[in-house]
Amino acid sequence: MDALLTGRDGLKPCRFETATLDTHIGEVDGVDDARFPDDLANFDCRNNRLAEMALHRDGFAAAVADVRERYGADRIGVFLGTSTSGILSAEQAFRARDPQTGALPAAFSFATTHSTGSLADFVRLRLGLTGPAFVVSSACATTSKVFANAARMIAAGLCDAAVVGGADSLCLTTLYGFHSLELVSPTPCRPFDANRSGVSLGEAAGFALLERAAAKPAPGTIHLLGTGESNDAHHMSTPHPEGLGARLAMERALTSAGLRPADIDYVNLHGTATSYGDAAEDQAITGLLGTRTPVSSTKGYTGHTLGAAGIVEAIISVLALRTGLIPGSPQTLTLDPALRSRYLQANEQGRLDRVMTNSFGFGGSNSSLIFGWAA
């Protein structure tokens, strides 16, 4: 919150692990030194470490313990997202293969680190939950989509509450992979800037606790009003040029919330600062919402945290509702005149009733969420 108020971003020149790339990244400090629970030591990897750090911020674990008392451990689901899970552990294990036999080091534990499902297993064990659990791995839309998964599971009666969110941690696979696609910016990323030159990769973990809506919600309760998911059906790593899939996800979120475009007070964009991606999202936004709704990307602060972007930006959206701070994008210096959305460079203040947040990913996977005050 303080960072959003003061415009302090978290991007620094890349010194991550053994990477030798000319880029800026959003690396979380102190991950290697963070305490990790002894009884779950086999889950120890950068991704689960990030998750562990986030679980113990802002009273989250205590809030989960409280609903566990109320509903029972088996009535709380765990639906989390990650794109690369603990693959950094496998990268390091491959470098340490036995030169004679090619065998991986004995200490490498695949199921609890590299395996895509390991994050949900770790968080479920850490929080003492036994309800249904899985990981959604739909690239950079993933920790947005888990809100829809949880809402369905609660509606279907398989659980009464759910832990959603997830973690995505820096690794060589994504650093070198995005580099190969020539999507990585040498400078800190500048979404919607005329001179934008690609993404800055970041890492993050974040969680939210969802419950079935009460008949009479307590004052100050935030509701997940709508979710919308779609596919581009266009290309594996390039968005539809007119943002067709993005628009469809936003339209579906509005339909599921029973809202009209004019009801949205602010949109937290996907806005990764790639040339094509920002242009496509701008078309989707202006086509559906017009040019008056304030929008911004907060990736200038965090970098693109990939599979964690959905939960990071859902949390920023809820903070915006709670505080009335509509975050700007001070990293964007010269707005691209070809983009027509009302893109905020500076913070604004005002009452927000309903906020939309977009997340799009490889494979043409799109997700849009709408949060608002309980009616």
Binding site: T130, N149, R152, A156, E229, N231, S237, G364, S365
Partner: protein, 269 residues
């Protein structure tokens, strides 16, 4: 949660398709294991066909078989993809490259490494813009995928194709994560019975410790235990028997810790 099965796809060792495998699954014909043959989907544009990796080939083959049986245009059907892993060959090649001096990853290899690559290729091939989720839950990937698909059918009223697939890793990952054979299956699920309905499913969670369903045939049981997606075999066997006029059956799939997915398979509607 209730869902109706309208189409089934299957591809695994000695199980070359649903129609060809029904008698084997029902216990009326002998099971003989032989490697599954994977081919790139003819539905894909030429560039994507060339770039197809084994997970994409397997997932698309079973998905296309199930939808053909259902007689539905894939563009109109939501999808749930589930697998314990991203493409094993691609992950191996990337890890191998990153351990070398060059660290040279091609753009195609990188986009093929994402867990939802089969969902992306599927959407391009079928022009489907309906919602799609790609799940993973280690050895419970099939069971949780079935729960998600059933929740979409029952909560949202969607028609959903569940596409599950798992393939072995090359060495050295195969040593730390052995997976038996390439095995994929798909189910087209509808919220209401239709003229093409093959069976009804009532799906719920239980904590009663019911015994987990197994396969009678030793070879099929080894496959069930050895490949996460093949945990579906008892359900597929029940569908084969019930679909051929057999009595309703209950199938129990494991959902640790301490949980079960119980599926009541009822006669065609």
């Amino acid at each position: 949660m209730r869902a109706y099965v309208e189409g089934i796809g299957l591809l695994g060792p000695g199980l070359p398709g649903w129609e060809q495998s029904r008698a084997i699954l029902a216990g009326e014909a002998a099971y003989v294991a032989s490697p599954a043959v994977l081919t790139a989907s003819p539905l894909l544009p030429p560039a994507e066909r060339r770039r197809s990796v084994p997970t994409v080939k397997l997932a698309m083959a079973v998905g296309a078989e199930a939808l053909a049986q259902a007689g539905r245009d894939a563009a109109t059907v939501a999808t749930v993809f589930t697998s314990s892993s991203g493409d094993p060959d691609t992950l191996h090649q990337i890890l191998d490259s990153l351990a070398s001096e060059e660290r040279d990853i091609s753009p195609t290899r990188f986009h093929n490494s994402v867990h939802n690559a089969p969902a992306g290729y599927w959407s391009i091939a079928t022009r489907c813009r309906e919602p799609s989720t790609s799940l993973s839950a280690h050895d419970e990937s099939f069971q949780t995928g079935l729960l998600e698909a059933a929740a979409e059918v029952s909560s949202d009223g969607w028609i959903v194709t569940l596409i599950a697939y798992d393939l072995p890793y090359p060495e050295p990952l195969s040593k730390v994560r052995p997976i038996a054979g390439a095995f994929g299956t798909a189910l087209v699920l509808t919220p209401q019975p239709t003229g093409r309905c093959l069976a009804s499913l009532d799906i719920g969670l239980s904590r009663e410790n019911e015994p987990v369903s197994r396969m009678v045939d030793i070879g099929l049981e080894a496959l069930r235990a050895g490949n996460p997606t093949a945990r579906s075999l008892p359900l597929l066997a029940a569908l084969a028997r019930v679909g051929a006029g057999g009595a309703p059956e209950a199938v129990v799939l494991d959902l640790p810790p301490g949980g079960r997915v119980v599926i009541r398979v009822g006669a065609p509607c």
